[in-house]
């Protein structure tokens, strides 16, 4: 059954609890990606990606190294220009626009801020870039203990402290969509727990979260939907319980291993 699913376009196999509905309805997907293609030189990194990101859900994007996860995130953010395809945010095509980015929070994998900045400088700059009057959610400052080192220069902060500051920056403007790239890397267990609590709270408020991570046990804890990318294509997309059910396993790690074996079998059988 899985093999059959692997051969069908992602939007056909998508069985999320949120069906596609007319635009501007509360239950319509927040982000709709259609036939997205991106190549770097001769290498096609995204090869016709179709994907919906539902509101009020945590979507885990999983795949082996080089599958196109980071590129997909960067196209969503406007950091990488797609060759073709379309992205709609809340029903509006984002091509040539920047306003939707005011509703996105981004936590890059590498928390590299200018060394002479303080944490406060970083947050002030991001606020100023959004026009200064953007409402701010400062709850993570306390929850992750960032207040204690907010006035220190970044060069004096440890890797974990920088990552916590990175997390605060992503959640700061109460975005409708959060894009988190390996967010818990470098966080201690307490900060990691608080961070995951925050993700659940954000999801419960009806906002959308996209998360990429290689820690699959962690993704299993917090994800509602799983997207499996391989060689630039969505090979599987749907609710986590359904994936576990299809693979007949109880862990996301085994389910993904199952998908990858199926994928390799299909590739191996190809003429």
């Amino acid at each position: 059954m899985t093999t059959a699913l692997l051969r069908r376009p992602a939007h056909e196999v998508r069985t999320t609890t949120t069906p596609i509905l007319p635009l501007h309805r509360p239950s319509a997907p927040l982000v709709e990606i259609r036939n997205l293609v991106k190549s770097f030189g001769r290498r096609r990194v995204l090869d016709g990606v179709d994907l919906d990101i539902a509101r009020g859900g945590v979507t885990a994007i999983i795949g082996p190294n080089g599958a196109g996860k980071t590129t997909l995130n960067k196209v969503l953010l406007g950091l990488v220009h797609a060759d073709s395809g379309s992205i709609s945010f809340d029903g509006v095509d984002v091509a040539g626009r920047i306003s939707h980015r005011a509703r996105i929070g981004y936590m890059p994998q590498a928390a590299r801020f200018p060394e002479s900045y303080t944490g406060q400088d970083v947050l002030d700059l991001l606020r100023d870039l959004r026009g200064g009057a953007a409402p701010r959610d400062l709850s993570l400052l306390q929850q992750l203990g960032v207040s204690a080192f907010l006035m220190q220069p970044v060069r004096t902060l440890s890797g974990g402290q920088r990552q916590r500051l990175n997390a605060v920056a992503a959640f700061l403007f109460s975005p409708d969509l959060l894009i988190l790239d390996e967010p818990t890397a470098g966080l201690d267990p307490i900060a990691s727990g608080a961070f995951k609590e925050k993700i659940r709270a954000v999801r419960d408020e009806g906002r959308a979260v996209i998360i990429t991570s290689h820690i699959l046990s962690e993704l299993q804890e917090i994800s509602d939907t799983v997207v499996f990318l391989h060689e630039g294509r969505v090979r599987w997309s749907g609710p986590l319980p359904e994936l576990l059910n299809i693979a007949q396993v109880d862990s996301l790690e085994r389910a993904i291993a199952h998908l990858m074996q199926q994928e390799n079998a299909v590739i191996g059988a190809a003429p």
């Binding site: 306003s99 590299r112 700059l125 959004r130």
Partner: protein
């Protein structure tokens, strides 16, 4: 919520300039110029002679420092630039802020380093002032030119080491290599009337243009170099200065424009 491009430029400029001004390299650059200027004023006892001695500093060190600082800073803050680009800002406006945030603090360090000793020595008389103003303008113009080139190289070349290598190669070509090539051409084709083609070629080099602009305010013909002497002979002081200023403006605008274009098209 869209932020006006001018507001983005001002925001990035304010934050970047503050970060650059805190940078030890920039403080060292400004302090070094200040110490050298002070030393030259004490040694020569004359404003114009001190400025003549400082000419090489302006023409060689200012471009080198700006170029290296620009490329290294670009690569050091690449991930943070990505984070800024993920905000609702136009790429062109962000590039404008990054460019001005790089060149204005460096230009400020240069101006203060050169000007303060002259002010302290009260060496701002009519015999010094035109040459001092031309030297300051030349140094500032070169900071803008090489700042634009540095960002263009940073944006265009992904690898940091290759970027630094290219920056040094471009600096060497424009500061040392170009005059050498021109002299080689002049001596090789000595039987041909080369003055006018050479004059046109001078416009292709910002360092020569800055030198010309500065030495047009000086009587020291020995400082002019081959191209400066050509300009003086064919265009005279006023026209030569105007041509040099026009050429420098083109040199400021072209790399900055090309850098902005590359920044807008680049995948991060």
């Amino acid at each position: 919520m869209n932020v006006a491009p001018g507001s983005t430029i001002a925001t990035v400029l304010r934050h970047e300039a503050r970060a650059v001004l805190k940078n030890r390299g920039v403080l060292l650059f400004g302090g070094g110029i200040l110490l050298l200027t002070e030393s030259m004023l004490r040694l020569t006892g004359s404003g114009p002679r001190a400025l003549a001695s400082l000419l090489s500093l302006v023409l060689l060190v200012v471009p080198l420092v700006t170029m290296l600082f620009g490329v290294i800073t670009w690569h050091a803050s690449r991930e943070f630039t990505e984070l800024m680009l993920a905000q609702p800002v136009r790429r062109a406006a962000l590039f404008g802020g990054l460019y001005l945030g790089l060149v204005l603090p460096l230009a400020t360090a240069f101006v203060l380093g050169l000007l303060l000793p002259f002010a302290l020595h009260r060496a701002l008389g009519s015999e010094t002032l035109p040459l001092l103003a031309a030297t300051l303008a030349g140094g500032v113009a070169l900071t803008f030119v090489f700042g634009g080139l540095a960002l263009l190289i940073g944006v265009a070349i992904e690898d940091r080491l290759r970027g630094v290598g290219t920056a040094i190669a471009v600096w060497m070509l424009l500061t040392i290599g170009y005059d050498g090539i021109m002299l080689l051409v002049a001596t090789t084709f000595t039987d041909y009337p080369l003055e006018k083609p050479m004059l046109a070629l001078t416009l292709a080099n910002p360092v020569d243009l800055a030198r010309t602009m500065i030495v047009m305010q000086s009587d020291a013909a020995a400082l002019m170099g081959y191209t400066g002497a050509l300009m003086h002979r064919f265009l005279g002081s006023m026209l030569g200065s105007m041509a040099a200023i026009g050429g420098l403006l083109l040199w400021i605008l072209t790399p900055a424009w090309a850098g902005r274009r590359a920044f807008e098209r680049r995948d991060f």
